[in-house]
């Protein structure tokens, strides 16, 4: 199986994030491989290990995206493709998907796995848009993949609104990964050493024959006008001491202040 995993370098949202003058303060930000992309990669590696094939990690982004790609290689991807072109900056999901489609269509592929959403935007659009551009069937929010495809089809489970859906999807297909899909492996020291020697293709938009006007900020359908801090919650009260006593106090407050039993 030829498996493509989409990986993105994102701001580490576990760290403190500050907003000033409508912008995210760049100082002190750390960039990592988006968590759901780790799930996507782990799924690809498990599929490869259960059968055969090759895992290619693809990213679109500036120099630092190369680090996310190196991490994917260290975890076990066989090769990397890095589309590094300033004209791609500011792309919306359609721009990114357009670029990714060009990269992916250079070779035959069986499966593309993306993250359910990227951690910096929480958008969740790139996978579905890319599936449309590639003309392949789509399953979003996948929580289980049967690692043995049969008759060109893959059995998967996705979480929907009503329950867990058992789906048979014909390859080539595109899946997006939920975090419950698996527990991503850590990159071993050997993996990190090996990653240095793995092939990494670095491409520009012109290598892919993409008109820069159709992607990047110029081609984007949306524009972030500003960032705002999230609404602040009023400072709360903390109760410590005898469980009997503090639980009673809180119920009093719920009844009299918050009036939740009224």
């Amino acid at each position: 199986m030829n498996i493509i995993v989409l990986v993105k370098s994102v701001i580490d949202v576990e760290l403190n994030i500050r907003v000033k003058d409508g912008e995210v303060v760049k100082d002190g930000l750390n960039y990592i491989l988006s968590k759901w992309d780790e799930n996507a990669l782990e799924a690809a590696l498990q599929l490869k290990e259960a059968g055969d094939g090759e895992v290619t990690a693809v990213t679109v982004g500036p120099d630092r995206a190369g680090e996310a790609l190196r991490k994917a290689l260290a975890m076990g991807a066989d090769k990397g493709v890095h589309v590094n072109d300033p004209a791609a900056a500011g792309s919306d999901a359609f721009g990114i998907a357009k670029i990714l489609a060009k990269v992916i269509q250079r070779n035959a592929f069986d499966l593309v796995i993306a993250g359910r959403q990227s951690q910096d935007t929480d958008l969740g659009a790139t996978g579905p848009v890319l599936a449309e551009l590639l003309g392949v069937p789509l399953a979003v929010n996948v929580i289980e993949i049967d690692p043995k495809p049969a008759g060109g089809k893959l059995n998967i489970k996705r979480k929907g609104d009503v329950g867990v859906e058992l789906i048979e999807i014909a390859l080539p297909a595109l899946l997006t990964a939920n975090d419950s899909l698996n527990e991503p492996r850590l990159a071993s020291l050997r993996g990190i050493m090996a990653a240095r020697k793995k092939p990494m293709d670095i491409l520009t938009l012109s290598d892919l024959g993409i008109d820069p006007e159709t992607v990047g900020a110029a081609g984007s359908g949306i524009e972030i006008v500003e960032f705002q801090p999230p609404p602040q919650r009023a400072a709360g009260q903390k109760f410590e001491g005898e469980p009997e006593e503090i639980a009673r106090q809180v119920v009093e407050l719920l009844a009299n202040e918050a009036k939740i039993f009224a």
Binding site: G160, D161, G236, K238
Partner: protein, 338 residues
């Protein structure tokens, strides 16, 4: 926009067509239109927009009247046994058919799991601009400007849709108010039933044993975390939820351990909820959990670790062993309830 000279005056497009027509893709669960869809109709009515709706499923046609009662001027219905389960290919085809007939300025969907799959797929099919997870939508000036949380709700993005033509957005439940309206006879247009091409076959949907109260509609939610230690702990806290007639939810740690079903996971990749009161019992307060519940009006936390991050969002934080605290909470609440 025609702009012969680059005068600032010209940047204001006086001929810009105001947003006028919205097509709302209704979410149906258990045979009924979900409240979140009625909230979208409520917003359209409040903004004086023409709203039409799409209804897709099996045995759903009767729900068209509910949508009409909430202001849908027309309801496009694809009602067929083959549409009983959500399948992104068929649902996208049906929704695209409705968009073709309705020719709206925008399509609104709920940011449910269905909307999260269908929204971007439909936008891609229609080559429309797309934004997800909106919590505010401003259509004044003929422009679409939305607010949406990002980075696990650590920031709010203000986003302007600059692409001309159709715009597709998903909206979080609770962002708008639904009207209190009864059903009325709908103006129904039947959509042709899309044929799947066989590449996606939904073989089965395992419906989970959800709680008595749906988390999406619950005024109060009690959620438990790894601190309950096991299935017995889940049952130990349940009477608190029952007493409050609350929805009963869980952190991912509890769901991953198999102590509670997936459907009840609260958080970024579970349900995003904003009840009046949220009890977090034995939950540490990881950002991915907070992203799913920090919009609750009042938060009560019980955790034995005084430094647990959940206390940073809790209005009332009880530092203590939940196995000691919860029984007292139950006893004391009973006193107030009678």
């Amino acid at each position: 926009m025609q702009c012969p000279n680059a005068v600032p005056e010209c940047l204001i497009d006086r001929n810009r067509k105001p947003m006028s027509k919205i097509l709302i893709v209704a979410d149906v669960k258990g045979g009924e239109v979900r409240k979140s869809s009625l909230e979208l109709l409520g917003k359209a009515a409040a903004d004086g927009l023409t709203a039409e709706a799409v209804l897709i499923g099996a045995g759903v046609e009767g729900q068209a009247d509910v949508l009409a009662g909430h202001g849908a001027a027309k309801v496009y219905v694809a009602d067929d046994a083959s549409l009983e389960n959500f399948a992104v290919d068929r649902y996208t085809a049906a929704a695209a058919d409705a968009v073709g007939q309705s020719a709206p300025d925008m399509v609104w969907l709920s940011a449910s799991e269905t909307g999260k799959a269908l929204g971007p797929a439909l936008a891609a099919r229609m080559e429309a601009a797309f934004v997800s997870d909106c919590i505010a939508v401003d259509l004044s000036d003929g422009e679409v400007v939305v607010l949406r949380p990002a980075m696990a709700t650590k920031v709010i993005q203000k986003v302007r849709i600059k692409k001309d033509g159709l715009k597709v957005i998903t909206v979080r439940s609770g962002a708008f108010d639904a009207a209190d309206a009864g059903p009325k006879p709908a103006d129904v247009t039947a959509l042709s039933i899309p044929e799947g091409d066989g590449r996606i076959v939904v073989k089965e949907v395992v419906q989970e044993q959800t709680g008595r109260v749906d988390l999406g509609d619950a005024g109060t939610i009690v959620s438990v975390g790894r601190g309950v230690k096991g299935p017995e702990g889940v049952e130990f806290v349940r009477p608190l939820a029952d007493l409050l007639e609350a929805g009963y939810g869980a952190s991912r740690a509890v769901v991953d351990s198999g102590w509670m079903p997936f459907d009840l996971q609260v958080g970024q990749t579970g349900r995003v909820v904003s009840p009046d009161v949220y009890f977090a019992i034995g939950i540490s307060g990881a950002i991915q959990h907070l992203a799913g519940m920090s919009g609750s009006k009042l938060i009560v936390a019980v955790n034995k670790d005084p430094d647990a991050p959940i206390f940073s969002v809790a209005d009332y934080g009880i530092v203590g062993d939940l196995f000691k605290v919860v029984p007292v909470l139950i006893e004391e609440i009973k006193k107030h309830k009678t």
